[in-house]
Point group: C2
C-alpha cells in the first residue's frame, strides 16, 4: 500500500508564523509525545507509523515546500514536486505516475491520498486501513472517507450514501455505497443532507494504482516519470473530486467519527497549543484566554489581556483579538516584504537585519544553520558580495574551485560573481553579511560541484 | 546664569524601551517642531534655548547616561559624571564644584537646578527666569518653583508659603516666602495643605553659586574639581531637599501653574505620543485607545484591541492593558538579560543575535553605527574574538598599532587579546560578530591611541 500526502497551500492565515515559504503544516507548535514540539506533518507521519499503516509515504507538493518537508522528515519519505501549481488532480496524477513509473509499483497496489495537515486521532488511521481493505476486496473502484458531520456546515463538500436500509446488508456497517456528491451547500440544503446521513468529504481517497493510471493516460502517456513531469502542464487544472470522484462509477465511503480539525486559523490553532505560551514568553498574572507564541530570542511579556493572540516571528509581530485574528490574511499581504525565516533541505536561515543606506546600497545579515552532512549548492550572485563568519562547527568551503577546511572563527570572503559553496562536516552555523542591491533570494546562479572528489 | 539639569534614575517602568542603560528621558518618542521626533532631554534643552534662558547648560549625571546625553545633544552641553550613584545633594554639590572650580564661575553667579525629564510648557521656563531675578534681587538664599497642585496628591513634597495676607506686599504676587516643607503627606493632610495654598515641590531651585559652595565646603574643601570628584564618596548620601532646602534660613517660592507632567509610565507617555503608533506598525480598523511603538525593523500588526499598549524594542516585547502596564517594572527585572541597544558617545549599537552553543561557546552579532568623526577607543578583549564587516561608509581601522583605511565591504578580523580601534571618516556602520564566552560589555581593556599622529 502506498500513501500520498498532499502538501499545498501557501498560508498567511497564521501570519507572522506562516508566510509564502512556510505553510501552517510546518509550524512546530504541537506537543509531541517525547515532550518536545512537532509540526502538523511530523505529527501526521508519526501517527501513520504508529498505526503501522505503511512506510511508503510520498509527499505531493510544490517547489517552495519541498525543502521544508525534507528538513522536517528526513530522507525516509519520497517527495514529488509539481513544476507549477495547478490543482489536486494534476498533483495526484503526477504522484501516481511517480509510483507507477519511478517506484515501479504494481497496478494492483492500493494507493491512499490524504491531506498532510489534518489534526486528528488514531481512529482516523484505522479508518484508512478499512478503506484499503475495501479496495482490496473490490468493494468499489474508489473508496473515500466520510467524516460524520457535527453541524450543517456550508464549508465542506458532502458525500451522500445509499439509504440506511442498505447499510448493514452490504458492508457490515463499515462501508456504504455512494449515491452522489454535493459541493458546499447553503445551510438549508446542508440540514437536508444531514437528514440523509450524508458525510463531509474529508479528502481521503483509496484506489488501485491501475485505476488512477487509466485516467492519467487519457491526458499524458509516457514511458518515464521524468517525461510526465516535463509535460505536467498538459494535465487540466481541475480538482480530484471533479475529475475522478464525481465521474467514478463505483464509489464507496467509510465513515469516520472523531477528532478532525483544520488548525488553519489562529483561533483553531490556539485550542491545540500545549500551553498558553510557547517560546521566550512571560505571562503576567492577569490574562484571560490569551495565547502567545514567540519565535524570536527576545522576551515577550503579556499582561491584562483577554481573548488576545500575540504571535512573534522573524517576519513580524501580530497582536490581535482572537476574533480579529481571522482577518489577518487580508492584512498580511501588505505587511510582508521578503521571508525572514526559511527551512531549506540543508537547514534553516533567519534574517537578522535588512537595511537600505542613503546611497541606495543595501546590507542584509543572516544567521545560517546547516545540518551535518548537508551542503549549500555551488553558486554565484550577480548583485551582492557576501562575508561569512563561522560561529559554530566545521565544514568545507569552496571558493572558485578551491577547497578549504573552515571552523568556528574563520571568515569567508565572497566577492560578487565568485563561485562558492559550503558543506557542513558537523552541524554548522555562520553569520552572513550580504552587501549590494537588490538583495533577493532570486539572485543566484547554480553550478555543479562534486563534493566527493 | 548657569543651569544644571539632573539626569538620573534607571527606569524599567517603560520597558522594553527603557532599561538600565537607557532611561525614559532618552526615548525619541515626542513630536519635535521640525516634524521629526525628539527625546525628553532634547525637548527640554530646546525649550530652554527657545526661552533664551541660558546657553550654559550642565548635566549632572552618572556614567551610564553620559554617552546618551553627548550622543543626543552634542558637545554644546557640559556633562558632569558622578563616580558612583549617591543622591541629589552630592550630585548637585559635584556639579556646583565643576562650575566653581573648572568653569571658574563667580560666587555671585545664579545657578538653577532642574530635572531633565519634565514634560512642560514655555511658561515653566519663564517662571525659572523669575526665580533667577528673585535670587539676583536677594529676595532669599534659595528660591524654588512651586507647582500649583491640581489634587491632594500623596506622591509629592509640599512647600508651604506664608499666609496670603503677606503675598501682595512682599513680592508683588510673584514670589512668596516659604514657611516650611512637608514630605509626601497622606491624603487628609494633603487636603489641609491645599487649603493653606501649599505648592508641590517641583525640584527646581535657584541660588547663588557661593551659597552652595559654602555648604559643599563643609564636607570637602579642595583646590580643583578633579580632587572633589575623587573624594566624591565623602559627600553624605542625602537629598538636596533635606540637606539644603529644609535647612535654609531664607527660602522663597515662585508659583507655576500649567502643564507639568512626568511621562514616567506607559500610560502617561501614551497621552503625549504624536500618533497611536510609532515605527513600522499597521493598525487594523478595530482598535480602541490602543498605542503601539515599534523600534524593530519587522512589522507589527494590531487589531481588535482596547486599552492596550504594544511596545517593541531590541530588548523585548510588551503587550499590556494600559492599567497593567504600570506594573511592568516589577516584571522587567526578570525579563532582561543584557542591554540589546545602547547609545554611546560615538553612536549606537544594537544586538541582532545572541546564542549559546552546545559546547558552551557563544556568538553575539551586533550592528554598530559610528557618527562621522567619532571613534571607538583603542581596546582589547580577553574572552572574545571579533569580526567586523563594514556595510556603510569609510573609516580608519587600527589593529595592533597598524592603521588601515577601510570602506564598505571590507572585513576586519580581530583575534582575542589584540588591540583595535576604529574611527569613522564618514558615518560608518559595521556588523560585528563576537565569538567566545562570556560575551559581555565589561570584557574590555582600554588603551591610549593618538588619532592625530
Amino acid at each position: 500500500m502506498q500513501l500520498i500526502l498532499l502538501s499545498g497551500g501557501s498560508g498567511k492565515r497564521l501570519w507572522p508564523l506562516s508566510n509564502d515559504a512556510r505553510s501552517k503544516q510546518f509550524l512546530p507548535l504541537l506537543a509531541s509525545p517525547n515532550g518536545g514540539m512537532e509540526s502538523m506533518i511530523q505529527r501526521v507521519v508519526r501517527q501513520i507509523r504508529e498505526a503501522k499503516l505503511t512506510d511508503n509515504i510520498t509527499f505531493a507538493t510544490n517547489a517552495v515546500q519541498r525543502d521544508s518537508i525534507i528538513n522536517q522528515l528526513g530522507e525516509d519519505v519520497n517527495v514529488v514536486t509539481e513544476p507549477e501549481r495547478r490543482d489536486t488532480f494534476p498533483a495526484i496524477a503526477l504522484a501516481s505516475s511517480y509510483l507507477a513509473k519511478e517506484k515501479k509499483c504494481n497496478d494492483d497496489e492500493v494507493v491512499v491520498i490524504m491531506p498532510c495537515d489534518v489534526y486528528t486521532e488514531s481512529k482516523y488511521f484505522a479508518t484508512i486501513a478499512k478503506m484499503v481493505k475495501a479496495v482490496e476486496n473490490n468493494v468499489a473502484d474508489l473508496v473515500l472517507m466520510g467524516i460524520t458531520p457535527t453541524y450543517p456546515s456550508e464549508k465542506f463538500g458532502y458525500v451522500v450514501p445509499e439509504s440506511t436500509q442498505s447499510l448493514e446488508s452490504a458492508f457490515n456497517n463499515e462501508c456504504l455505497r455512494v449515491v452522489r456528491f454535493t459541493e458546499k451547500p447553503n445551510e438549508e440544503k446542508a440540514k437536508e443532507l444531514l437528514k440523509q446521513n450524508a458525510f463531509w468529504n474529508g479528502g481521503v481517497f483509496a484506489f488501485r494504482l491501475g485505476y488512477m493510471m487509466n485516467i492519467v493516460n487519457q491526458y499524458i502517456q509516457t514511458e518515464t516519470f521524468q517525461e510526465t513531469h516535463k509535460r505536467y502542464t498538459e494535465f487540466p487544472k481541475i480538482s480530484f473530486d471533479y475529475e475522478v470522484a464525481e465521474k467514478a462509477e463505483s464509489v464507496a465511503v467509510v465513515p469516520f467519527t472523531g477528532e478532525w480539525k483544520d488548525l488553519g486559523t489562529w483561533n483553531a490553532l490556539c485550542e491545540e497549543l500545549p500551553s498558553t505560551h510557547i517560546g521566550n514568553v512571560m505571562m503576567g498574572d492577569n490574562n484571560k484566554n490569551t495565547h502567545a507564541v514567540n519565535e524570536l530570542g527576545i522576551p515577550v511579556f503579556c499582561n491584562g489581556l483577554k481573548d488576545v493572540i500575540v504571535a512573534v516571528s522573524p517576519d513580524g509581530i501580530m497582536v490581535c483579538d482572537k476574533q480579529d485574528s481571522e482577518k489577518i490574511k487580508d492584512y498580511a499581504n501588505k505587511l510582508t516584504t521578503r521571508p525572514m525565516y526559511e527551512e531549506r533541505r540543508w537547514g534553516t536561515y533567519r534574517v537578522l537585519d535588512n537595511v537600505e543606506y542613503e546611497d541606495g546600497t543595501r546590507s542584509l545579515t543572516k544567521t545560517i544553520h546547516l545540518n551535518a552532512g548537508k551542503n549549500i549548492s555551488y553558486q554565484l550572485h550577480h548583485h551582492r558580495s557576501e562575508v561569512w563568519t563561522c560561529v559554530e562547527g566545521e565544514g568545507i568551503f569552496v571558493l572558485d574551485g578551491e577547497r578549504k577546511e573552515v571552523k568556528r572563527g574563520d571568515v569567508m570572503n565572497i566577492p560578487v560573481e565568485h563561485l562558492h559553496a559550503i558543506k557542513a562536516t558537523t552541524d554548522l552555523t555562520f553569520i552572513e553579511v550580504q552587501i549590494g542591491n537588490p538583495l533577493v533570494e532570486e539572485d543566484i546562479e547554480r553550478f555543479e560541484w562534486k563534493w566527493t572528489e
